[in-house]
């Protein structure tokens, strides 16, 4: 391995050839500020257009300043990172950005979480020496994502996520010069585009240019309406990240505190989406086994692999890009929608509340869930199964509004019956989790034998594309896993070409799965945070006494009292769906 020697701020440093000045400096404790740059290690996500010019440094002998994020260290370089020339340039560049940025930090949705705001503070900017015209674009609202493009600073992070990572291709730079901005082609609205609402653009946006459609106000109104019974469900990945919003270390599990907070906010019943995840396994697992058995029996009409359908962004992705494959994914609705459907039928009957007086709120790590709940097929006579889907971040706002000191809350338990879940339900929150949960149940049903081990390490990890073969008592079952839609696209193209070796594939749109969802607390480019959340999810699974969905007693009861059996007519009606050609 070739090494290079250089000097940064009078300190000698030796790094591998190919290392950027930024990384070399960081290795000796010199923290060069960056703005557009973003790198999520282990995930192959990197954005370094060299556009913002905040990270410029002085290189001896070089005519102009060099961007540290995308200039490689070379032998003998002498670098200064804070000469007056550099500091003046860096401050001027940030002042220029601020001169074309709405000065509405006090009321911006990103206030306190804004990389630009932090940068201005970091550099001690107290006056903007340049005034002039500001970019004016109309706001674009969609069911999930709000674009306030006046706040775009052309960092291109969203573009990297949308194009390189997700291969959705909705967001890209348009126009030239001062009018250049990131937007869908022809400045069309997001809801007219092929946007999947995965929210990865929102997850990485440094400013308030991309944020979620805020529904906290509507939830507060429902909570204060005496005629309404308001139930809430919480997705698995929320409990592994919510604590970050209250200053707790990443990876802190806050399940009990979250339940307590929701109760204090006035929700009448605090339930768990994990319950619906167990239900999903029964439905989807049965579907998998049926298709598998028929396939193995030589039925030519059966198509494999079966694809998971829990992720609404993924569903919209294949409806746009692979409509000819729409018969392949499982017809099972997502856990959020299964929950809403059961809550507004089975549970509403149980407590004697009319459907229209029952409000279902979900807390999701996801922005696409907002869109999913608005899909017309998930409502009855105009009344949606899920009324409002809030992000993890929105829940944190609600908790703040409720004057609740989160960290000191006691741990409380979910309500019964829709709050009981197994370890299989909770791992839905990470890449590999849905398929592992399915395998735990399918194995026992298929073989009629108890699992020799519950943990399937071979299905876990952070690689974008993974595969494993699970031995179903002599029958090898090939499983594929993809997270990130770009990776999903590769598997779908294989299926299209007839080259897929898999029986079942799990797909999650967001890198890392739901733990890295677009509605989660901002990770600010720190991939370690995602890994810590993942570990938290698996530890919650470990700590559950029941870890297989089909052993959830409340699920058994639900089938006995209401649904009959998986894939029954009632199940089909309430728990399954169909897909549309949106190409």
């Amino acid at each position: 391995m070739e090494m290079v020697n250089l000097i940064i701020d009078h300190k000698p440093v030796v790094v591998r050839k190919g290392t950027t000045i930024l990384k070399a400096a960081s290795s000796i404790g010199i923290d060069i500020p960056t703005l557009c740059y973003m790198k999520l290690d282990d995930m192959n996500i990197e954005n370094k257009p060299g556009g913002c010019r905040v990270c410029v440094v002085e290189v001896k002998g070089r005519r102009n300043l060099a961007p540290a994020c995308c200039t490689e260290a070379s032998e003998g370089m002498e670098i200064s990172t804070h000469t007056i020339r550099v500091v003046n340039a860096r401050r001027t560049v940030v002042e220029l950005i601020l001169s074309d940025h709405p000065a509405e930090c006090l009321i911006c949705a990103k206030s306190g979480n804004c990389d630009l705001q932090n940068m201005a503070n970091h550099l001690g900017i107290r006056k903007i020496h340049y005034q002039g015209e500001q970019s004016m674009y109309r706001e674009d609202t969609s069911p999930a994502i709000i674009r306030e493009i006046n706040k775009c600073i052309m960092c291109r992070r969203c573009e990297t996520m949308c194009n390189d990572i997700q291969t959705v291709g909705v967001l890209s730079a348009i126009n030239r010069g001062f009018q250049a901005v990131v937007a869908p082609a022809f400045e069309m609205n997001l809801d007219h585009s092929v946007c999947t609402y995965c929210g990865q653009c929102v997850a990485v946006c440094p400013t308030g240019a991309l944020t979620e459609a805020d529904e906290t106000g509507a939830v507060i109104r429902a909570l204060s309406d005496p005629t309404k019974t308001v139930v809430v469900q919480t997705a698995p990945a929320v409990r592994a990240a919510l604590g970050e919003e209250f200053g707790m270390p990443a990876g802190t599990l806050v399940t009990g505190k979250m339940v307590a907070a929701l109760r204090r906010l006035g929700f009448d019943y605090v339930f768990d989406t994990d319950f619906a995840a167990d239900l999903t396994i029964l439905e989807e697992g049965t579907e998998l086994l049926n298709r598998l058995s028929a396939f193995m029996a030589g039925d030519q009409n059966v198509k494999l692999p079966i694809l998971t359908s829990c992720c609404p962004a993924w569903v919209k992705f294949f409806e746009h890009h692979f409509p000819e494959l729409k018969e392949i994914p499982s017809t099972a609705r997502s856990p959020q929608q299964m929950f809403g459907s059961i809550a507004k039928t089975y549970f509403a009957d149980k407590i004697g509340v009319k459907r229209e007086n029952l409000v279902v709120v979900s807390i999701m790590p996801c922005l696409a869930k907002k869109y999913e709940s608005s899909r017309p097929e998930f409502s009855v006579n105009g009344n949606p199964d899920v009324d409002f889907a809030l992000s993890t971040r929105e829940l944190a706002h609600l908790i703040n509004l409720g004057n609740i000191e989160f960290k000191s809350l006691p741990n409380e338990d979910f309500d019964a019956p829709l709050g009981e879940s197994t370890g299989a339900g909770v791992i839905f929150g990470t890449t590999g989790g849905v398929i592992e949960a399915a395998v735990r149940t399918a194995y026992e049903v298929f073989t009629g034998k108890p699992l020799p081990r519950v943990d399937f390490e071979e299905l876990r990890g952070m690689d974008g594309l993974r595969k494993a073969t699970i031995d179903f008592n002599g029958t090898p079952i090939n499983i594929g896993i993809a997270h990130g839609l770009g990776n999903a696209r590769k598997l779908l193209e294989d299926i299209q070409a007839g080259n897929s070796e898999f029986h079942a594939i799990e797909i999650m749109s967001c890198p890392g799965g739901c733990i890295g969802g677009g509605g989660q607390p901002y990770h600010h480019g720190d991939a370690e945070i995602l890994k810590k959340r993942q570990r938290a999810i698996y530890s919650e699974d470990q700590n559950k006494t029941i870890r297989k969905s089909h052993e959830n007693p409340y699920i058994t009861k639900l089938y006995e009292e209401f649904l009959g059996a998986p894939l029954s007519e009632k199940s089909h009606h309430l728990l399954h769906t169909k897909y549309f050609d949106r190409s």
């Binding site: 010019r53 961007p67 001027t92 009018q179």
Partner: protein
Amino acid sequence: MAEYNMHILVCGGTGCKASQSELIKTNFKNKLNEYGLADEIQVIMTGCFGFCEKGPIVKILPDNTFYTQVAPEDVTEIVDEHIIKGRKVERLLYLNPETKERIGDSKGINFYKKQIRIALRNCGFINPENIEEYIGRDGYSALGTCLSEKTPDEAIRMIKDSGLRGRGGGGFSTGLKWELTRKSISDQKYVVCNADEGDPGAFMDRSILEGDPHSVLEAMAICGYCIGADKGLVYIRAEYPLAIERLKIAIRQAREYGLLGDDILGTGFNFDVEIRYGAGAFVCGEETALIHSMEGLRGEPTVKPPFPAEKGYNGKPTNVNNVETFANIPVIINKGSEWFASIGTEKSKGTKVFALAGKINNVGLIEVPMGITLREIIYDIGGGIKDGHEFKAVQTGGPSGGCLTKSFLDTPIDYDNLVAAGSMMGSGGMIVLDDSDCMVAIAKFYLEFTLEESCGKCTPCRIGNKRLYEILEKITEGNGELEDLNRLRLLSNVIKDTSLCGLGQTSPNPVLSTLDNFHDEYLAHVTSHKCLAGQCKALVNYSIDADKCTGCTLCFRNCPVGAISGEKRSTHYIDQSLCIKCGVCFEKCKFDSVLIA
């Protein structure tokens, strides 16, 4: 050309074409047909002669007669008098403005006297749509020499020794660039010709492609042989339809003659050329942006390294050269690097084509040896300043360049001297300014161009140039303050220091060079709120000098807003509240009685 005993060359450059040179050619053909002379006298539409000021140009060989400003209806007289009777049509010959003599032979015209034509050697001589005419003037012999007698390393050595530097503006050693691309190891390499000429007023690349497209194709093939590429791409802006048309014809003919395609001249060397169209974005002249545009991506630059020589088109090693650079290559191979290196200065060899424009008598395209002075260009070739005005500055290097004053008139022009003087070679735009030009307004004009042509990727270029422009706007509107001059300089320096690509790194040059060289003019704008050149309307008032006004009513009759009143034969007045400062009264007045203050 041998079988004809006379040739009529009609300029087919874009300028002359716009003045009906196509019809002139048709008229000649019809007239010759009428006289049954079509077999003896050939009519050729050539590329640009360069002397655009006097176009349309018609040249008659072998006697070198140079007719200027020919109209279609002049053809009959030229044929009847010159062709039939052997008497030159005096009134169409070039008139020497000093001696008032008519000059029959183009060699006697000052405009051409100091020029040395290498890149433009065939422009105005051959029919660009006929490969045989190119071959007749040693065309494709350099390619033949390379393929049969020289190794790629030997050929690259020749280019390096010649001292040829990139004519697109960068001035990087062409031979070294080839060598670097040659050294990159890859299964596929590309030769790219940058024909995305974007400087306002520059049209040398267009003229070469319109007048001598084969010279570029031949050079690209030589480059392909040298670096190990079998594919060439010409990136040309779609708004050059004539150049594209002639290039297409040239590629087709070269393929028919086996000079492009597989197994060229039986040597086993394969090379072919394709055309890629650009949408006319200035920034796509930057090589990484150009490559991204060819790849179907947004035309914006990326950070170098990696250089195209390592990772270019489709991620493969790519050599990008400008049209004019390529046009020099075959001559260097044919005449030798020593011959080429004997022309020019120590570090800038050969010639440079300049597009001469602005307040100068002889607007046009010229090719001069490096080391010539601005004075020679402006006064000897350019014929001096128009309408007896005084020379004020010359803007070189296009929007990235700077303005040079009188004190630089005797500086030998080459890459390094221009940079030292605060400007640059650029692609060779040369715009002459006189005392009626306001330097603040000129800086604003150029900045407006870069502002529109910035890709918007990096902050300093996207927002910094906008703010620079706004400060200049403030100054020209009479609202400038002393502090603004300081701010202009500070911001300009940061933009130069921090921008991603050459566009932003040079965009403040017009501001800085005018600030340096015409500081008084800026000061007058911000302190006494005066525009000495009378160009900044907000700072100018028109009035009528009662002593000089004869009451001729000419201003009164021409004022578009009725701001002028006065009786016939008595003094006229301008109502300042109505005046829109269009300047028509000033232009119309025959008695210099309209004052600007």
